[in-house]
């Protein structure tokens, strides 16, 4: 098994990823005021991300399993460093600057947490028992709390989600799920007091963006206008007036879907959603085919996290979810998130190479 060096890529998944990357370049060109420099940098990032994916794809599930506790530990330490730097620097800190590259430890945790939870889950036979579930939950809660402290609520929720999904896949009983859900619902009002003012504002804004159309509601309204005015067929590439006239904030990054939807309309949005659904479905399929439970849980979590990203981002842009800093996977402009995302797909590729019926 150790000698398993052969790498057989999943062409279907690769095609889906490449397709989304190409879409990314087109939308970015429009969103970035036809700035070819931006396009060039994004191309570099996409290339880098794919290289990372191929590199990770060469790592066997066994190696991954072995490295998991260390990766998780390193992630936790880095989160603490960032937090400490934030205290010293008197401001929110999310970055670690290594001189040649800056990256967010929280991004790393998006992979490390589900890995660690899966590692915990497969210690005992599945479905997971209550003590395992509790242990897994602790593994999730620690980094989540640290990220909330940054404060980066959006990423924290996603990290928590990616970990909890592993527990769900591990067969956590429906009864526990029901109880936890009830507890969560009960804790919601408490959470309301724990979160920051601006976070509360974002949630309130969701329900009535027009109460403050030029302040808190601005993003929500402008992106809804962009999406809505796209209509069935869209205004055409480079012709989105909302996008081109600078009405949409963060239009190259978190709000890039507004640009896409304004210019390509409902039809374009539907096709994009189908492309995402395809990547998700394929990933889930690879997870099911995986040769061991660790890989299966991890891959399942990665697939779901990916889908959740898409849902949260588009939900935010279309005004059904509060505004959280979640990029649209593979399309938004940005480095770290794309690299961690593609590292995840690297794990999926590796799982595909080592799928169980190959033995």
């Amino acid at each position: 098994m150790r000698e398993q060096k052969r790498l057989s890529l999943d062409w279907a998944l690769l095609t889906g990823l490449l397709l989304l990357s190409v879409v990314s370049l087109f939308v970015l060109y429009s969103a970035g005021d036809q700035n070819s420099d931006l396009l060039f940098r994004q191309s570099i990032r996409i290339t880098l991300a794919f290289i990372v994916m191929f590199a990770v794809a060469r790592i066997t599930p066994e190696q991954l399993l072995r490295w998991t506790p260390y990766l998780y530990a390193i992630g936790l330490i880095m989160l603490l460093i960032v937090l400490a730097a934030g205290v010293i620097g008197k401001g929110a800190q999310r970055w670690i600057d290594l001189g040649f590259v800056r990256f967010q430890p929280a991004e790393m945790m998006k992979l490390a947490v589900p890995m660690m939870v899966a590692w915990v889950m497969v210690k005992k036979p599945l479905p997971a028992s209550l003590p395992t579930v509790i242990l897994g939950t602790i593994v999730v809660i620690i980094p989540t709390a640290l990220v909330i402290k940054q404060p980066d609520l959006g990423t924290a929720i996603l990290i928590a989600g990616s970990g909890l999904v592993v527990i769900f896949f591990a067969g956590m009983s429906w009864r526990i799920i029901a109880i936890l859900s009830a507890l969560l619902a009960a804790a919601a009002p408490l959470g309301w007091y724990l979160i920051h003012d601006y976070q509360r504002q974002r949630i309130l804004t969701l329900f009535d963006p027009w109460s403050d159309p030029l302040g808190a509601g601005y993003h929500t309204i402008q992106s809804a206008i962009a999406v809505g005015s796209g209509g069935l067929y869209g205004k055409g590439w480079l012709n989105g007036s909302q996008s081109q006239l600078d009405f949409i904030p963060e239009r190259s990054t978190d709000f890039i879907f507004a640009v896409f939807s304004e210019e390509f309309g409902f039809i374009g949005s539907l096709l994009l959603l189908l492309a995402y659904l395809f990547v998700f479905g394929r990933s889930l399929y690879i997870a099911i085919e995986a040769k061991d439970s660790f890989t299966r849980l991890l891959c399942g979590s990665l697939a779901v996290t990916f889908a959740i990203y898409v849902f949260v981002n588009i939900g935010m842009v279309t005004g059904i979810l509060p505004i959280v800093g979640v990029p649209l996977p593979l399309i938004s402009y940005g480095g770290t998130s794309m690299v961690s995302m593609m590292a995840g797909f690297g794990i999926l590729m590796s799982a595909y190479s080592n799928r169980w019926f190959m033995h």
């Binding site: 399993l65 036979p125 896949f169 809505g228 069935l232 309309g265 099911i288 279309t318």
Partner: protein, 620 residues
């Protein structure tokens, strides 16, 4: 490697697969939610968001520049900007326009014309744009409105800069005026240069130097909401004021020239020969340019336009007059250049014929001048001498030589609409009338009659060339432009049109003859020269307005006022070292020496001696 307990692989796979199905369904539901939301936004609510998107714009609110001022050569303002109160209405904010206008009418005067313009503008502009209802409110009106302001939602009182011409009629033709940008103008101008600017120069210097005077609009980039209202300013670019212009005109001299013409229709052009600077550029009657700034009423405009006195016509620039005898010094110079002896005498019996018994071309002196040489012919303005000279030169030679003084072509002065007037030639007549040239036409051209036409500007320019030893400079009105911010002044350099054509000795001969016009007992303008402390080189001229039949005599008292001869006068002084050259035309003024001459004298007296003309009003 961690030590795993024995696991039921199939059970674990089954758990995972079933959970995957649950998750898959869950994800499909989420995608469904997104699709429903997109469907709602993009299809059901499409119209609403599409409208919002169209109204949603970053607007650019222009900031008009301050227009450059116009000064005379001594810094006396000829065009300035004065604050003026305007009443503006934002139709969007008015619930009942009729009632509002009715109530406002009780506080400030609103004429039918004001209301008409207002209603027209309201239709032209967006309903959230402020539209001018009344401009030039009196202080009292402004105060009355200010007190009652609370009653008028959507009405604003603004203080704006408005163009004003303090000298009113004086130099109106030179300075010109600004007016509202008309639909016609819109087709000609570069609209991007007129952001926020409602006015442009329509005539005169205001129009010619529009680009310099206008300045550059600045703008605020503002965010507008769905109703087009400004929400916040994103960036601001200040406007750059237009440059100030200093004219070569001396406004006092200008006024003296205008007043000297009294009630005559006519023109006075005074030029500094050494530079071509126009010192005075008068055209009477004139008009008040201030009337045009805020849009002149149709009736008032019609009155100006249809007046038989044509006050809107810039006579100095566009008036085409037969130069009459004022062309004689130039003719004499051409004769000398063509090697005609200065001593050659022509016998004047009071008329000239081309062949025995042919048509008689009369001399103004019916008894004749006897034998005259060039000097006497100029001094006494003998027509017969010049009939003969013209006949011997021929029209084409006259055309080519007189053109060197600028006759028949535009001088290139910095005003638009200049007339080239006419210096005829065989070719011209063939081309424009398809007729041959008759020798008799050459004869009368020799005394500046017939087809020959000149503008007062051309005459003054040609005279200044004589004064400047044959060096002809381009006449110009711009003395300097001044950057408003740095107050850096850039002067306009004189432009030489031609020189070295005329022999100095010949010029001297002509000058002496012209001096004797005012300075000898037989000179036609001896009364102009009488008692003058400086020597004046001059020539009188009288141009026929109606043709006199062969057997008739022209008797001034028997001719209708508008058929009387035009009086012309050209002069420069001091003759030895000319500082000013003047051309005067008084329409229907009769004889040049008695009507136009004194006008030129007053202008020269003021310019050379600083002498104010006596205020006594001569009967006209």
């Amino acid at each position: 490697m961690p030590d795993f307990e024995i696991k039921d692989v199939f059970r674990e796979t089954r758990v995972f697969t079933s959970r995957s199905i649950v998750i898959g369904i869950f994800m499909l539901i989420l995608v469904g939610i997104l699709l429903v939301r997109l469907f709602y936004l993009q299809l059901i609510e499409y119209d609403r968001y599409s409208t919002l998107s169209k109204n949603n714009r970053i607007s650019v609110v222009p900031k008009p520049p301050v227009r450059g001022l116009i000064f005379d050569r001594n810094g006396v303002p000829l065009a300035r900007n004065v604050p003026s109160y305007t009443l503006e209405v934002i139709p969007d904010q008015v619930s009942n326009m009729e009632e509002l206008l009715h109530e406002l009418g009780k506080l400030v005067t609103l004429t039918e014309y004001d209301l008409k313009l207002f209603h027209r503008d309201v239709e032209r502009h967006a309903s959230f744009d402020a539209t001018v209802l009344r401009s030039q409110l009196t202080d009292e009106e402004a105060a009355r409105f200010a007190v009652n302001r609370y009653r008028f939602q959507g009405v604003e009182l603004h203080a704006r800069l408005e163009r004003n011409y303090p000298n009113r009629e004086s130099a109106a033709h030179v300075v010109g005026y600004v007016g509202h940008i008309s639909p016609n103008d819109l087709e000609k101008i570069d609209k991007s240069q007129y952001r926020g600017i409602n006015f442009l120069g329509k005539t005169g210097i205001e129009s010619y130097y529009e680009e310099i005077l206008r300045g550059t609009s600045g703008f605020d980039q503002v965010e507008t909401n769905a109703h087009g209202r400004v929400v916040r300013t994103i960036s601001s670019t200040p406007s750059i004021p237009g440059k100030n212009i200093y004219l070569t005109i001396d406004s006092k001299l200008q006024l003296i020239a205008e007043q000297a013409l009294e009630d005559y229709r006519g023109a006075v052009v005074a030029i500094k020969p050494s530079t071509g600077e126009i010192l005075a550029f008068a055209s009477t009657p004139s008009y008040d340019p201030n009337a045009f700034v805020n849009g002149i009423s149709t009736a008032d405009y019609a009155e100006l336009r249809d007046s038989p006195d044509t006050p809107l016509l810039n006579r100095a620039l566009r008036g085409r007059y037969a130069p009459g005898s004022t062309i004689k010094p130039f003719m004499g110079l051409i004769g000398l250049k063509a090697n005609r002896s200065v001593d050659k005498k022509t016998f004047c019996p009071g008329y000239y014929t081309l062949k025995k018994g042919g048509r008689r071309f009369r001399c103004w002196k019916h008894s004749g001048h006897g034998a005259v040489d060039l000097h006497d012919a100029v001094v006494q303005s003998c027509d017969v001498y010049f009939y003969d000279l013209a006949h011997s030169l021929g029209i084409d030679m006259m055309h080519d030589s007189l053109s060197l003084f600028g006759f028949g072509s535009k001088t290139g002065i910095d005003l638009s609409g200049e007339s080239a007037a006419l210096m005829p030639s065989r070719q011209w007549k063939r081309g424009s009338r398809d007729e041959p040239w008759y020798p008799g036409e050459t004869v009368i051209a020799g005394i500046g009659q017939g087809y020959v036409l000149a503008t007062p500007l051309q005459l003054a320019s040609a005279t200044s060339a004589l004064a400047n030893k044959g060096r002809r400079l381009k006449p110009h009105l711009l003395l300097a432009e001044e950057d408003t911010l740095s107050t850096e002044k850039v002067s306009k350099a004189p432009e030489l049109l031609n020189s070295g054509i005329w022999d100095a000795e010949n010029l001297e001969i002509i000058q002496q003859a012209m001096v004797d016009v005012t300075d000898s007992p037989r000179g036609t303008a001896r009364r102009v020269g009488a008692g003058s402390p400086y020597k004046i080189a001059a020539k009188t001229g009288t141009a026929q307005v109606i043709g006199i039949k062969q057997n008739e005599r022209y008797i001034e008292s028997e001719v209708a006022p508008r058929h009387r001869d035009h009086a012309l006068f050209i002069a420069y002084a001091p003759a030895e070292n000319p500082e000013i050259a003047v051309a005067v035309i008084a329409e229907n003024g009769g004889h040049g020496g008695s009507t136009a001459g004194p006008v030129a004298k007053k202008v020269m007296d003021y310019f050379l001696l600083g002498k104010q003309p006596e205020q006594e009003k001569e009967p006209s």
